[in-house]
Symmetry: C3
Subunit: 277 residues, 3 copies
Amino acid sequence: MSEAAAHVRVVEETPAYWRVVFDYPPFNIVDATIFEGLQDLLARMDASPSLRVVVFESTNPEFYLAHFDLTGKIGNIMTAVGASGLPVLMDTLVRLTKSPVVSIAKIRGCVRGVSSEFVLACDMRFASRENTRLGQPEVGVGLHPGGGGAERLPHLVGRGRALEIVLGANDFDGDTAEKYGYVNRALPDAELDGFIEALARRIASFDQRAIAAAKNLINQVSLPAADRLLDALSSFQSALTWSEAQQRIQALLERGLQRDANFEKRWPALLGTLLET
Amino acid sequence: MSEAAAHVRVVEETPAYWRVVFDYPPFNIVDATIFEGLQDLLARMDASPSLRVVVFESTNPEFYLAHFDLTGKIGNIMTAVGASGLPVLMDTLVRLTKSPVVSIAKIRGCVRGVSSEFVLACDMRFASRENTRLGQPEVGVGLHPGGGGAERLPHLVGRGRALEIVLGANDFDGDTAEKYGYVNRALPDAELDGFIEALARRIASFDQRAIAAAKNLINQVSLPAADRLLDALSSFQSALTWSEAQQRIQALLERGLQRDANFEKRWPALLGTLLET
Amino acid sequence: MSEAAAHVRVVEETPAYWRVVFDYPPFNIVDATIFEGLQDLLARMDASPSLRVVVFESTNPEFYLAHFDLTGKIGNIMTAVGASGLPVLMDTLVRLTKSPVVSIAKIRGCVRGVSSEFVLACDMRFASRENTRLGQPEVGVGLHPGGGGAERLPHLVGRGRALEIVLGANDFDGDTAEKYGYVNRALPDAELDGFIEALARRIASFDQRAIAAAKNLINQVSLPAADRLLDALSSFQSALTWSEAQQRIQALLERGLQRDANFEKRWPALLGTLLET
């Protein structure tokens, strides 16, 4: 098993229903390894005609997927292209949205920035009511969403709430995320596994052609245009070079980002005073 | 009175406000007769310049409109064209959305598949909080929505919830339908009639030109494109010939669909195990 | 200080965060003076590179902004053009949506018609749970929304709720406005000031380039087309000349509109019986 496959682990519950488990200690930071795992998964999904549903979950209840790696371990995911001809970061999310396989995010813990963009690219999102910290904090880091968040959120939650999520750059709990339509539903933590298991097995019992045709019809009227997604990614790449962003990233790393579990859990709340003192 | 007019009954409360009552025992199944009644209604609406509002309701509190007839009694509603040049099924729903007359669905009981697509084509939808079973179960029957559901739902509820409704293929109760934006509101059953009566009479007191201009402006930015609707319908017609769909339809009819009131009330919940044993 | 500047008062809390206070007794009616104040504000915002956030609020807890002046004091706001080349009424709202400065509406009291369209043009809207009366009552006056309401509402709340808001022509309280997505959130009145102060100061601490780039990306997928906005405004100008509208405006002015505080607070509720003796 490759290193990536160990961290993005596939559990074949049945030929029609797989669970994909993020297990990349300490915090499930999204770097080149996670994208390699997702690329391998997509190839495997394409080669599995009996597959209907994939549920994405985490072994770590505190961190679903933390956020984009800010220490440089991102390989060539923004320059190399994937099977769709788009840069790997975008290719991964776009192919997930267009796959005939249904994707369900089962969310517990922290899901920020590119991780929020990952769950927004899943077909459905269900969150733990008690244990969800979901957001797009990029603007508070001197950056902006680059992986589709700015394009997918307005369709889901409307312009006003999308601007609050992106410009406020803070965490949203399960209840607020549900109220805004950021997730399909927030469920009591104790009911989340059972709800998703039942939904996944139900969909897995349906016919492949019916699922694919229905998802395709909905995609035709609900997916953002590729040129909008590319604009956002290329603007994000520029933003990474801005001195303001570099200064804020430095301040976050010094305070404990990607090192200190306690800081990693709550850093978006602190962004409003990041450069003070 | 024609047979269709007896089952899609018009009650002229005032020249400006009509109630249209579905009364087609035993379950208000949507077949060629219902579409004939709706086509007659649309012609009558076009010829009634003083009309402002039509409220659609059912005499049967268990069934608003059940679902598309699966025993073949659909006449030529997918091949013959209506006044708009679209096939009658689509023509009926599209003309309702574009009519200067305001349409309000007052929902009690079961509303599935093409019936959900009917209420989605109404201008507003209000549902009984205690007594609503609304959904698009087509995918669980080996089919997919063909009457605009896949095109109208993402605009109303966002891509994630639209995919859950369509791919999960299950019933939604009043509260969840309201939370998702599938209906305008769910109201306590005892308040539903009074609320809609007041709203309808209020709108009926307004001027025809103001209503028509306002609805037209909103339509310009909110109706799906005709080519998308036609794509869905033509794909649905193909799906009806798929062997998977035929097998599931057969299984449903054998278990009691369109015959057994108890089965008719709860069949979407059973779709996940339809082909087992 | 000009008269307009006295009624649309700018309080520079910091170079990055301004409050703009509507103070135009008795009811903050929206006339040419208010638009002059907003135009002056926009010019000043454009000339203030350190500015990040503007919060719009009212000194009068009963009236945020009442509604469009119906006594003729609207100057040339529909004929003269502003900096964008659009008529001043539209120019004001469109430039606010496209400004790199973030706009937040803090809503207490009555906000109807063009005032609703003003808060819809703000980036975010937060409302007092106990004290909000928000709506688009134009259709009940024989008119229709002309300042972007018909174009912005469907994106925020979906077609069904947009049609209910516009064709029902009634007030929405804070809870319903939140449930519909008409406002971002309704907050307990006692918490509203603190919530917005914290959010505004937080955003004010972020970098200008990051804010502007993020808002621009979201705008690309969420703003209505200019030709749609112009169509609505030009149709509204025609509607003002309709005899039905003139009759209803006359009836409202006779009953106390723009004169009697008690009538001014509750007039939309009375529109359903306006022309009855």
